[in-house]
C-alpha cells in the first residue's frame, strides 16, 4: 500500500439509496436518495469540511466512505488503488486501522464496561500494532498526546466529562495510526469552551501525525476554522465544492449564500443582510424534480424545475451545480 499518493481518498459519483419497504413481505415501494452523484477528493494532510442541513446526507457520505453501509454505485478509492468494497478477509482487516471514525455523541460511543486504557488499546492489541511488552507505554503515550493523564487509564467512561470523553474517542481513533479520520460532528455535543479544546487537539494531532480529516458538521464557523476545502450538500447532492477561502469569500450557489448568511455573528453592531429560506428541506424519498433546491430558491426560473443542473467547474477547484452559471442551461441572463 503506497502511502505517498497525493489524494488519500477519491470519491466519484457516489450514490447511496435506502429502500423503503412496506407491507407484509417487505416489498420495496420506493427509495430514499440519501446520497446522489457526490464527487470529491481529499489531499493528504488536509481537512475537508462537509456542511448542510440535517437529513442532507452528510453522515451517510461518511459511513459509505468507510463501507459501513455498502454503497449503491460509484467509486471510493483510498490511496489511489484501494477499493474498500473489493477487499476481503485479511486484506480488509489490515486496511481497517488506516481509516477511523469519531462520532458525535461521546456518551453513547464508549462502552461503559471497559476501562479507558482498554477502550483505547483494544484495537491496538487486536491488530498487533505494537509488541506486547510495549503495549502499556504505547497507550500511555497516545493518551498523553490527547491530553489525558496516565493515571486515568483504569477509570471508566462515566467518570469523565463530555470533553474528556471526546478526547478518549479521539485517542481510540489515533491509537491505530490511521491515515484518514471521518469526524462526524465531533464537537456539536460539547460546550463552547470545550469545543475550542477539542478543535485545537484535532489540529495538533493533524500536524503531528499528518492526518487527513473529513469533518462533518452543521456549524459553519467551526468548519471555516478547521477546513481546507468545503463541500456543501443539499438533499443528497453536493451543490458546491471549493477551497475554504474561495467558498466563504465568493459563494456561488444560492443555497450556499443563504446558508452562510444565516450564521449568527456575535457582534451586536453587525446587521446581517440575511437571506431567509422559506420552508424546510423536502423529503429525500420524494425529492423535487429538476434542481432539488428549486422549491426554496429565490432565483428559481422555469428551467430549474425541469432539469437537474450539471456540476460546473468554475476554475480554481471551485465546482457548483446550478443553472445560473451554465450558459447552455437555458436559464437566461441573470
Amino acid at each position: 500500500m503506497s502511502s505517498t499518493y497525493e489524494n488519500v481518498v477519491e470519491v466519484r459519483n457516489l450514490c447511496k439509496y435506502f429502500p423503503i419497504r412496506a407491507g407484509l413481505f417487505g416489498r420495496v415501494v420506493g427509495q430514499v436518495h440519501a446520497v446522489e452523484n457526490v464527487t470529491f477528493s481529499i489531499r493528504r494532510g488536509t481537512t475537508m469540511g462537509l456542511v448542510g442541513e440535517s437529513g442532507c446526507g452528510k453522515t451517510t457520505v461518511g459511513k459509505t466512505l468507510l463501507n459501513l453501509t455498502p454503497k449503491t454505485s460509484g467509486e471510493v478509492v483510498f490511496n489511489g488503488n484501494t477499493h474498500l468494497d473489493q477487499l476481503k478477509g485479511k486484506e480488509l482487516r489490515s486496511f481497517r486501522p488506516k481509516i477511523q471514525l469519531i462520532f458525535q455523541d461521546p456518551y453513547s460511543s464508549l462502552s461503559p464496561r471497559l476501562p479507558v486504557g482498554e477502550i483505547i488499546g483494544e484495537a491496538v492489541r487486536e491488530h498487533h500494532l505494537v509488541p506486547d511488552n510495549e503495549f502499556d507505554a504505547y497507550v500511555s503515550r497516545i493518551m498523553k498526546s490527547c491530553g489525558l493523564h496516565d493515571y486515568q487509564k483504569d477509570r471508566y467512561p462515566h467518570e469523565f466529562s463530555g470533553g474528556q470523553r471526546q478526547r478518549i474517542c479521539i485517542a481510540r481513533a489515533i491509537a491505530l495510526n490511521p491515515d484518514f479520520i471521518v469526524c462526524d460532528e465531533p464537537v456539536s455535543a460539547l460546550d463552547v469552551s470545550i469545543q475550542a479544546q477539542i478543535i485545537n487537539l484535532l489540529e495538533d494531532l493533524q500536524k503531528e501525525f499528518n492526518l487527513t480529516y473529513l469533518f462533518i458538521s452543521h456549524d459553519l464557523s467551526v468548519v471555516q476554522h478547521i477546513s481546507d476545502t468545503v463541500g456543501v450538500m443539499y438533499l443528497g447532492n453536493m451543490v458546491e465544492f471549493a477551497g475554504k477561502k474561495e467558498i466563504f469569500a465568493n459563494p456561488l450557489h444560492p443555497y450556499t449564500q443563504a446558508l452562510f448568511s444565516a450564521i449568527p455573528v456575535p457582534d451586536p453592531t453587525v446587521k446581517m443582510n440575511r437571506i431567509i429560506l422559506e420552508g424546510s428541506i423536502p423529503s429525500p424519498a420524494n425529492p423535487p424534480s429538476g434542481c432539488k433546491f428549486h422549491t426554496r430558491c429565490r432565483e428559481c426560473r422555469d428551467v430549474c424545475s425541469q432539469k437537474a443542473p450539471r456540476t460546473l467547474d468554475m476554475g480554481n477547484g471551485h465546482t457548483v451545480a446550478c443553472h445560473i452559471y451554465d450558459p447552455e442551461s437555458g436559464y437566461g441572463a441573470r
Partner: protein
C-alpha cells in the same frame, strides 16, 4: 479532573444516608409551604423595585438537595428583565441558566430542587407577586398565562398522542374558563397563523410527528403566545434546529415580540444568537452572574475573564485565527464550591486579591456590572 478532586468527592454510604435524611427534613418543610391551599394573596404580594421591569430576580438561590451534597445550581443571581426588551442569558451547560428560568416558572424538579432564598418579583401590571413565595395553587394561574416558556426540543415538549389543536385549546381553555369552545378554537387557529403557518386549519388537525422540526417549534411558540404573556422564556429555542431554520425562528420571535409587546428571556449558549436578539446580556458561570449589561457593552467591551475567554474560544465566520483560545480546566464540582472566585482556578488574569473571598459587583457603567476583583479598586473608572 485532578486526582485530588476525585478523592474529596468520595463519600461513604453512611455519610450519604445522613445527608439524605437531613435533605428530607429540609425539602419536606419547603414542600409543605408550597402545597398549602387557599393562601391569602397578601402573603406573596410584593412591590416591584422598578415598575418598568417585568421580572426582577433578587439574590435568588435555588439548591438541589442530592444524596452526595447540596448542589447550589443558582447561587445568588440578581438581574431584571425590562418591559418589551430581550434579555439574553449565556453560559455553559450546568451554569444554572435553565434553573434560573425554571425557578421563575416554579418548575424546578421538586422535592430535591427548591428555592431556598431570595425573591423573584413578577409584574402583573396592577400588582406584583413574589414567585419564590407563591404556593403551587396560585402559580398554576400564572404559568402559561403571564409567563410562558419555549423549550429546546420541540418534539419532547409536544404530546405525540394528541392533535396540535387539542394541545393549543387546552392552554387557552384552562386560562380562560369562560370562553366557548368555538371561541377557543378560533383563538388557537389565530395563534397558529401568527407564527407564520399558512394552512392553520389543516395544522390544527395534525399530530406533532407529521410536522418538521421547524414547524413543531413554531407550534410550541404559538402555544407560548396563546394567552398573550407578558414574558416569554425561550430556553435554547433554536439549538436543535438547522441554521436556516434557526434564522426563520429568530426572525419570527423578533417580529412577534414587537407585535404583542412582550419581553423575552432568551437562554442560549450561542453568542451569535444573543448578539442578534438581545438588548441586555447576562453571563452566568457556576450558578452566579459574572457579568451583565447592555448587549453592546458586553460584546464590545467584555470585562470578566470568563466572558472574554468565551468570546475568544468561539470561531467566528470571516475572522480567521491561527489557533482558538481555550479556557483551561473545567467547571468546578458543584457540590463543593470554593469560597473564593469560582473562576480563579481557570483564570489567567488573576490578581493578588483573587485569593480572597468571592468578588463583589463592580459597576463599569450604569448598566454594565462585572464581578471581578480586577476592576474593584478603580471602581469602574478604567
Amino acid at each position: 479532573m485532578s486526582k485530588k478532586s476525585n478523592e474529596t468527592s468520595y463519600i461513604s454510604a453512611r455519610e450519604s444516608r445522613r445527608i439524605s435524611r437531613e435533605n428530607q427534613k429540609i425539602t419536606r418543610r419547603l414542600d409543605k409551604r408550597l402545597s398549602r391551599k387557599h393562601v391569602p394573596e397578601g402573603e406573596y404580594l410584593t412591590q416591584m423595585r422598578d415598575t418598568g421591569n417585568v421580572v426582577e430576580f433578587d439574590n435568588l438561590h435555588t439548591y438541589f438537595f442530592t444524596d452526595v451534597g447540596t448542589v447550589k445550581a443558582v447561587d445568588g443571581v440578581t438581574f431584571e428583565v425590562p418591559v418589551g426588551k430581550t434579555v439574553g442569558i449565556v453560559g455553559e451547560s450546568g451554569c444554572g441558566k435553565s434553573v434560573t428560568s425554571l425557578s421563575l416558572m416554579q418548575l424546578v424538579q421538586r422535592p430535591n430542587g427548591q428555592i431556598v432564598e431570595g425573591a423573584i418579583r413578577l409584574n402583573l401590571g396592577d400588582k406584583a407577586y413574589d414567585v419564590a413565595k407563591m404556593p403551587i395553587e396560585a402559580m398554576q394561574k400564572v404559568r402559561g398565562n403571564v409567563v410562558s416558556m419555549i423549550f429546546q426540543e420541540p418534539m419532547t415538549s409536544l404530546n405525540p398522542v394528541f392533535r396540535i389543536g387539542y394541545q393549543l385549546d387546552e392552554v387557552i381553555a384552562l386560562h380562560n374558563p369562560h370562553m366557548s369552545k368555538e371561541a377557543v378554537k378560533a383563538r388557537s387557529i389565530e395563534s397558529i397563523r401568527m407564527v407564520g403557518i399558512a394552512d392553520a386549519e389543516g395544522i390544527y388537525e395534525r399530530y406533532p410527528h407529521e410536522l418538521s422540526g421547524g414547524m413543531r417549534q413554531r407550534i410550541v411558540i404559538a402555544m407560548a403566545l396563546a394567552c398573550n404573556p407578558r414574558l416569554i422564556i425561550a430556553d435554547e429555542p433554536t439549538t436543535a434546529l438547522d441554521v436556516t431554520i434557526q434564522a426563520q425562528i429568530l426572525e419570527l420571535l423578533r417580529n412577534l415580540k414587537s407585535e404583542i409587546n412582550a419581553s423575552i428571556m432568551l437562554i442560549t449558549h450561542d453568542l451569535g444568537v444573543i448578539a442578534e436578539m438581545a438588548d441586555y446580556v447576562v453571563v452566568m458561570y457556576a450558578g452566579r452572574v459574572v457579568e451583565k449589561g447592555l448587549a453592546k457593552e458586553v460584546f464590545l467591551d467584555p470585562r470578566h475573564p470568563y466572558t472574554i475567554g468565551l468570546m475568544e474560544s468561539k470561531p467566528v465566520i470571516n475572522k480567521t485565527v491561527e489557533r482558538l483560545y481555550s479556557i483551561p480546566g473545567a467547571v468546578p464540582n458543584p457540590v463543593n464550591m470554593p469560597d473564593y472566585c469560582y473562576f480563579r482556578d481557570r483564570c489567567e488574569k488573576c490578581v493578588a486579591r483573587c485569593q480572597g473571598k468571592y468578588p463583589p459587583e463592580v459597576h463599569v457603567s450604569d448598566t454594565h456590572i462585572v464581578s471581578c476583583w480586577r476592576y474593584f479598586e478603580e471602581g469602574g473608572a478604567k
